[in-house]
Symmetry: D2
Subunit: 240 residues, 4 copies
């Protein structure tokens, strides 16, 4: 369950219904930088082990290696650039985050949007490097468009709800259900998550009830007084 | 000599004539990614110790922590973003590279150019976080403009020579001397380096003779058959 | 046939098989700037009238009004920004190009690529403002993704062939046929063009034979010794 | 006084004390788009003629030609790109805005910021094409940096005040006086303007008293109930 890229490959195991996924995006919060990134990742791993729910973490680039060294849960880069090895000072190379221990990468987060052609190139590059690709989208039509580019995961996040504490699953349930409906017309493989404003276990439960296969969260966990408590609450709500 | 930020502070030592500086930019070359980044940094440290010449390294973000753990020479990030801690997925936070062990950062490399206002903001942010700021410029006038923003280091690199093996110090000596002349009108503190095409010890020697206080190099070292040999050649040429 | 937005609306006329479309992108060529933009547009109009083939022109922003005043053929902006009216200095507003007389706009040309979410926003904004939206794509998968966003026109242009004189229709016929096949799975309305390297009448004829409904051309016309001759050659080849 | 580029050239007239300058930035406001751009420009011309104060206008790209045709006051593009004639679809060419009748261009407005090297390139390109270059800056240090690049005009605009109606000249007088002091150390030629929040004649009068040679305004004029009245108020206040 905790292998590098659990969403690909041909084993029959992969075809079985998956448990829900929770990806925790550390953004550039100080509460999740450096040592605190490692500590938070360990809490996520603990909650994952105790509940059987897959929890992944997405720390900053400079924390990837230490986090990946410290935990066995999936570790996502927050972004990679559409560059190949070479003369690209200051860019983020898929090969480098892979070697640092990342098992996947977020792509096109609303705070780090990409040109359309680069979304396509990075999905392909991630597949070649066996990195799980998780493309963030802002509405159902864009989700369906992205579905054509065959990422492993599509995460719908209405940007206007990010960081508000108003959960997408409650405030815009149709964003989730329309995404699922449109994506499934063209792509049966991609895992569909939702995010933005997820703050309570109930937000997670509602998201799953709407048909999402998990959630992408950030401040709801990272800025919580006790992130472990909230992680457990989210994971427990995923089991219901 | 190998302290985190040797270019600031008030000790009388800082005012003494410095030895030349060589900064090795690892870019996103596979030859300088992951384990090979650590190995190359160790070779740079060895050459630095043997010669007394300050050699700094600038690995990729995801390699910063391991490189900084492995060596005591200065370690530069290749770029940081003009963001504060917070909701900035996929960005590079000065605080994070600092905690990973970076002692400085390149800024505005020709392969990762920045808006003018961001160059200013990042220089200030670096100063607050005690990161040595090394701003790359493409011509003497821009160097002088940047001098007004008070970075620790200014490195003039004519973009048309980068990666060519044709050394700036030989092909465009006036780019170096004009930079020094213009910068010194307004800024006596900033260290002035030059880069682009530096491939041989003689290129370094000529650069220093022109008045540069060191060089910024990349492929000349990273893609050399034996980087240690070339590092020694560069360092030895700096001593003449 | 020469109405502002011939691709929408409910008249039965729209459902009839269309004649092929040739869109001439003036880029920022001096040969197609200012007065020469107007002259070139008039040649395009002449060739269109003589042959019955729809020829549209896409001049620079600052030439839109004069070109639209001078000719009755469709006039496309080369780009619009994803902004609404307001405080957006230096941006290109859909409302403004419309008022200047544009009937449509290119979107996401390989020389002016856009973030995925902006492609979506601009298509919608164009529809609201009754501007024909022509989205440029670089490969069949991206074309299919874009098809989900319902632009009026999709133009596949492999960037490596742009400006080479090596025609996409001859060098990469499968880029055209795959685009048509994938787009048609999800979108029966969008007009499909191809571009890049189109230099001879035969390139146009081959493109149409492959199933494209027209071509997007630039240097092949703009930099021709006698653009009218080549426009006629292209239009005549479209009739065969 | 109303010639294309009044800030260059060697006539003794140019050396005489200038009257204050008011540049009106039309941004992408609907109130200043298309026909309304022409109307607003005519009001600016009327106020300029009646008072002898130089008033310039900066309409959108697609309105440049009609505005320049309709009035004899200076007309600025809101931005030009750092491109030469050629294959640059969707970009703004200095040669094209010049041919459309622009006499100058804003550069690096806070809503359209540019890379440092592009600011330099565009200033040079503007000079070659005899377009008056007006570079916008956000603080005194950046203003001084830009002064080294020899633009014709430097306009300091603290971004946090833009559009607020809180005038820079009143809220941050030291931003203006520090800019003047720092710029004049290295550049005696550049005209220094200030902008952001200028709403009343008194804001203009205070700006001039602080040493600014004019103002850059936008919403204060464009969104005024009667722009002519406010233009006259601004111009009259400049005469005191």
């Amino acid at each position: 369950m905790l292998c590098a890229n659990p969403y690909r490959g041909g084993t029959s195991l992969d075809k079985k219904p998956r448990t829900p996924i929770i990806i925790v995006n550390f953004k550039t919060y100080l509460e999740a930088t450096g040592k605190r990134a490692v500590e938070l990742a360990k809490k996520a791993e603990k909650a994952s082990r105790e509940t059987g729910i897959e929890i992944a973490v997405s720390p900053q680039f400079s924390d990837l290696a230490q986090v990946a060294e410290a935990v066995e849960i999936p570790v996502y880069a927050q972004h990679v650039d559409a560059v190949s090895p070479g003369a690209h000072t200051g860019h983020v190379l898929a090969e480098a985050v892979k070697e640092a221990g990342a098992t996947g990468t977020l792509i096109n987060h609303s705070e780090r949007q990409l040109k359309l052609a680069d979304v396509d190139a990075i999905i392909k590059h991630s597949e070649e490097k066996e990195l799980t690709s998780c493309v963030c989208t802002s509405n159902p039509a864009i989700s369906a468009a992205v579905a054509y580019l065959n990422p492993d995961i599509i995460s719908i996040e209405p940007p206007e709800l990010i960081g508000t504490g108003i959960a997408v699953s409650k405030a815009q349930p149709e964003a989730v259900t329309d995404t699922i409906r449109l994506v499934r017309k063209v792509n049966n493989e991609a895992i569909i998550l939702c995010g933005a404003g997820i703050s309570h276990g109930e937000d997670v439960a509602v998201a799953l009830k709407l048909g999402a296969q998990g959630v992408l969260v950030a401040s709801g966990i990272v800025k919580a007084k006790d992130p472990y408590i909230v992680l457990r609450e989210f994971a427990d709500s995923s089991l219901k």
